[in-house]
């Protein structure tokens, strides 16, 4: 733990250079960032700080487009990259990354579809719809409604399209869910865990035994004890340092009574 927010172990040098310079606002670097997002999707790596920079860059590009009345290379604002970034940030829940990305999208993106779909001219309607769909998923994950998350994911073909680019999306989410479960659970009924992980039968056994390293005993799954699910009572005592008294002690020497 204790990794700074802007740190990503796999970040290549050229991306680092862009992030630390003014090129992070240069529309010409869009392609570089887009390739980097694609790479993250393929290799299951993740770099939130760089992805947020791309969302910001997109706003710069949109601004330029508006100023030049749309005579700008439209591939620079590829919607897939935006949704890929959002899908990627789902895989690191419960961190605030998804919300941070949402904050950087244009303000109208979350207004209900009925208002924006009536305006095909706006061009953003499909993106707006996709973002709102992903936001539903994000809220389900945040509220730990995992069973509802899996059924929602299956309920609409659009979701399948949205997550198609992100390699191992379901696996990554399952690992995250398992992680949050291991924080608060020592034992859990098999049926409940099945619904939370969206897995049944043999694949369930394989995931729980193999990936999580948990034990299945009949209808109960046992999670080994860890620091988080121990729930041990403690008494926090005050830690007193000599330095805290230095002023008092010095006073004693400064002003002899």
């Amino acid at each position: 733990m204790g990794v700074p927010f802007d740190f990503a172990p796999e970040r290549p040098e050229h991306i680092d250079a862009i992030l630390n310079g003014l090129d992070r606002y240069n529309p010409e670097t869009t392609q570089v960032f887009q390739d980097y997002v694609t790479e993250q999707c393929e290799t299951k790596t993740y770099d939130c700080y760089a992805n947020l920079a791309l969302l910001k860059l997109r706003n710069a590009v949109l601004t330029v487009m508006r100023l030049c009345s749309y005579q700008f290379n439209p591939h620079l604002t590829k919607d897939e990259t935006i949704t890929n970034i959002l899908v990627k940030s789902l895989t690191v829940f419960p961190s605030p990354d998804f919300s941070l990305a949402l904050h950087l999208l244009p303000p109208h993106i979350l207004t209900p579809a009925s208002a924006s779909s009536a305006l095909p001219a706006a061009g953003d309607a499909p993106l707006s719809e996709a973002v709102q769909k992903l936001n539903v998923l994000n809220n389900l994950l945040a509220q730990a409604s995992y069973a509802a998350f899996w059924s929602t994911l299956d309920s609409d073909d659009l979701y399948a399209d949205l997550i198609a680019d992100v390699a191992g999306f379901e696996e990554l989410i399952r690992i995250r869910i398992a992680l949050t479960i291991s924080q608060s659970v020592r034992e859990i009924e098999r049926a409940v865990l099945e619904s939370w992980l969206g897995l049944q039968g043999e694949t369930f056994d394989k995931f729980v035994n193999g990936v999580c390293g948990w034990e299945i005993e009949g209808t109960v799954v046992k999670v080994p004890l860890n620091k988080e699910n121990e729930a041990k009572g403690t008494i926090v005592r005050e830690n007193v340092k000599m330095e805290q008294f230095s002023r008092v002690i010095r006073r004693a020497y400064e002003q002899p009574a």
């Binding site: 904050h103 809220n139 924080q183 699910n229």
Partner: protein, 475 residues
Amino acid sequence: MSAFQNGGAPARAIDDESDVEEEALVADYREQVQYEGMEELEPVTSMSMAQQTDDIQSRLAAAAQPLDFSAPLEVKFASYDNYCSLFHFILNSDGPVDLEPPSYYWAWDVIDEFIYQFNSFCSYRNRVARQGANEEEIQILREAPNTWGCYSVLNVLYSLIQRSQINEQLAAMKRNEEPMAVAGDYGSKSLYRMLGYFSIIGLLRVHCLLGDFSLALKTLDDIELNKKAMFARVMAAHFTTYYYVGFSYMMMRRYADAIRMFSHILIYVSRTKNFQKNAQYDSISKKNDQMYALIAICVAFHPTRLDDTIHTALREKYGDQLLKLQRGGPESLPIFEELFKSSCPKFISPTPPDFDNPELNVDPLDHHLAIFMDEVKTNMWSPTVKSYLRLYTTMDLKKLAGFLEVEPEKLRGWLLVNKQRSRQIRWTDNGLLDGEVVNSNDLDYAMQGDLIHISEAKVGRKLVDWYLRNLARTY
């Protein structure tokens, strides 16, 4: 004030003793306030300079003057042009411009006013586009899309920072090296150094206004937030910095850090308020109230013991609201909304308005509020759950679900959420974005099937602080 111009490390022989430091700072501030009226009497260093410099001096002074909020569009346009030509002159002349800033807080005033005008212009333009009523103004704004553009403003701030090598200078100071060695031709002049320095604070603010909270905090990487920092010498800068840092932390769900920031500055203000009598105090007292509201929000997310001064003032100002926030549930939602709306910065839309589709020009405040409220809703049952768990050491999940009149499945979710949210990143050292995950909850639990095991972390009484404070008072 010379200490400030020598690089911000006052040559006072004091150790890292915050109380002594704070007193010195307070005394220093008192001095500033008292001498403010005598500004004109001070001999101007550029007496011997040519007439042209006088003209520049008056432009420098004008740039720091607040613009009337209700000024007509033409005046706002003209003001933008003035800033552009002034910054162009400062940044793009042959070599560094040989000018002394009119006063040591001038640089802050200029950057502050520049961003304030940018901010209010953007809000105004967005409103005009949204309402779509005033054809005449729409036409004017449509024809001048570059005026007060977001990227021109960012460009100015970044350029001032780069020209002055201020980040390099600050980094050198952090390593206890001589900043002048890396300052370069521009950065060694106080005009550039001060403009550069306050541009960093300005950048923090603009990023936050645009909704980029992580970059806002990242911007301050080279500035150490302590009472010796340069910004601490200008009250308004000190205040603004902590407000935006605290707000950014809050939006990154780092409530403990946000509370620490707000508390720090509010305590400082409460210590200095007796000798703040000028107009500046009005704006400070408004922001002051906003920060108390934000503390109330943060405390609701992250119950913690506050400093006594803060706690008393908070109860006075927002007692009822705080109670409702802390109780959680759907009744708390309108309060969260109300407090957020009244105390957030005036957000700016990152893209210029679309005059052809007024429906698309949503108020950026609504956007950020909606995202924030999702987080509030995720958390709103935590207080309820905790209030029950506190009463037991073991509890049956189905029984508790019965008490709460919810589905057991739902309760399991609440328990998981509360546990996740009690794991927070908290700053320990280095940059503002750094931190370690700590358990911020005094209540811990684990589920064994349907049985919830509950344990409490009891905090022993903290006596040292109380003891020292009383000792300092009497002795």
